[in-house]
Symmetry: C2
Subunit: 332 residues, 2 copies
């Protein structure tokens, strides 16, 4: 990437993003993913330029374990929307990308039709070590997609560790995609995820699995009814629905549900409250992560931590006493 002053790059690229140019959008995301300080300054100038564009996409978080048909669902669902003239962006938060080089959206052959669609934009998860870094990049990429005029930003993740919470904290709606399953497997859904899901979407309601899907959907609906009612939502939410991504069945109904819930929340003011709370959450989370990062990025601090830690492990120093020593040293 050539040298630019922070403002000159923003001057060039911001109008192109506002016109919806996908190449400019892709370049801007590369910029926010960069670890270089000069790139960061450019990214900040660009984001600052775009933050008052006044455009707002529907941000939908989507989680599902491997095998539930996540790519097929996104492709069918995305193609349906682009055919209706909507512009759809797909981003990914992949907690395993640091180790595996990216298990989701890394494969170029996934979502082949959607990736060729001029009204769609697909971006794989970056390979970064820290979920915190991936979270910042994804939040900023969502903003860029909004400024580029996308109507829907799908943020895809797998149900590993904290990644679902991370995605839910940057989404207006959160969907959990599930495969048809027998009774015993139902308990595999983490309780925490049931509580953040606005809709459970049972995929593969086709062929031999159709009757299982119907039962699974009823079971999830029952489980959702046991959860506390959310005062900000219509009575029927959170809800469980059934789709077949392969047969393109139920996708329009799913979209209608998403729009209904989104409109309801906009009208009640919950939408704006939630976005403000999310922004504040990410601010505080980045401050916390940044403070803790001092322990690992500064080589002198890291050496001191290792040295004191070794004394503690050998029983030569008490954990609390060594911790106070480290903290005094950091505050020196």
């Amino acid at each position: 990437m050539p040298q630019h002053s922070p403002d000159s790059l923003a001057d060039t690229i911001a109008p192109r993003i506002l016109r919806g140019e996908r190449r400019a959008l892709a370049r801007a995301i590369t910029l926010i993913e960069s670890g270089r300080a000069d790139h960061r300054a450019q990214a900040v100038a660009l984001l600052d330029r775009l933050k008052d564009a006044g455009r707002s996409a529907l941000r939908v978080g989507l989680s599902g374990t491997p095998g539930v048909g996540k790519s097929t669902f996104i492709e069918s669902f995305g193609m349906m929307l682009t055919a209706q003239g909507k512009r759809v962006a797909v981003l990914a938060v992949d907690p395993s990308s640091a180790r595996s080089g990216g298990s989701i959206l890394g494969d170029k052959t996934r979502m082949e039709r959607l990736s060729r669609d001029p009204n769609a934009f697909i971006r794989p998860s970056p390979s970064q070590t820290q979920l915190g870094g991936v979270a910042r990049r994804t939040r900023e990429a969502v903003m860029l997609c909004e400024a580029a005029g996308f109507d829907l930003v799908l943020i895809e993740t797998v149900g590993v560790g904290q990644s679902e919470t991370v995605v839910a904290e940057m989404s207006d709606l959160f969907l959990l995609l599930m495969a048809p399953a027998g009774g015993d497997e139902l308990q595999g859904v983490k309780r925490g995820i049931m509580e953040i899901a606005d809709m459970i979407v049972v995929n593969k309601a086709d062929g031999a699995l159709k009757s299982t899907a119907t039962r699974t959907c009823a079971d999830y609906a029952g489980a959702l009814r046991l959860l506390r009612k959310r005062p900000q939502d219509p009575d029927e939410f959170p809800k469980a629905i059934m789709v077949s991504a392969v047969e393109e069945m139920g996708l329009q109904a799913a979209w209608d549900d998403m729009q209904l819930l989104a409109e309801w929340r906009r009208a009640s003011g919950h939408w704006a409250t939630r976005r403000a709370a999310q922004a504040q959450y990410w601010f505080e989370e980045e401050v916390r992560q940044g403070l803790l990062a001092r322990l690992t990025t500064d080589p002198v601090a890291r050496a001191r931590l290792a040295e004191l830690g070794a004394q503690v492990a050998k029983g030569k120093a008490l954990p609390g006493v060594a911790a106070d020593e480290m903290l005094n040293w950091l505050a020196r």
Copy 2:
């Protein structure tokens, strides 16, 4: 508490603790629970004096939700051991104590017999706001009990939030106490807790509940077999067993199992490795918590965080940019 130089108090109280005096032990725990800086200095001097006493108790973590008969189990189990000449200390980590004033071990009528036993020492959970503070106090109280020559230190908690992980990280063995339950209720056990439990103890295997307890125990045994084998443990661990605290049935067998597992780990070196890793974990955790505490304890930092957070919530500043500003301010 009268004024002492750190060393003079340690001089007085350390020999009394080493002789096993319960009043000196109770006073020392009060000292480590204090928030005063001069008390802290005295506590550090005392702990430092005692850390090379070379005594080592078996540290057993015990979790169970209210209603499983935790007090009754601890009382029956403790009385059995004291009758065998063992000295038993019971400490509590109660994450709810800050709000409720202590829901476990707070009631003086609990464990009435054990609390009058000269070979036992029972200490309720302190009322502190931070689980981090409770964790440090409990770890240091465990050390004091060890120095006072107790053979077994039971660390009791309820299965709320992170408290089980906190207790497991300061225990040699971790026990989960359960009540007999039907098939549907079994899924209530958090997966994480199954993975840290060395033994699942099904209580109330008496009277009308005996056959349910037998089934429950078999179900847990089956669930435990699905978990990955731990290379450091004998084949039969983690295991599920059945006891009746009321009828004092199965308690000796439970103790035999605990001793077997402890001896196995001592012989394999796993015991020492685990204690060293735990000490290092707590050192690093206290450093992390201490760093984050700067955001809330310093009123100027807190005001700056609130001010930037409000700007972010209003959309006037980006979360990442405001976070960088806060971090630069903290590092100034």
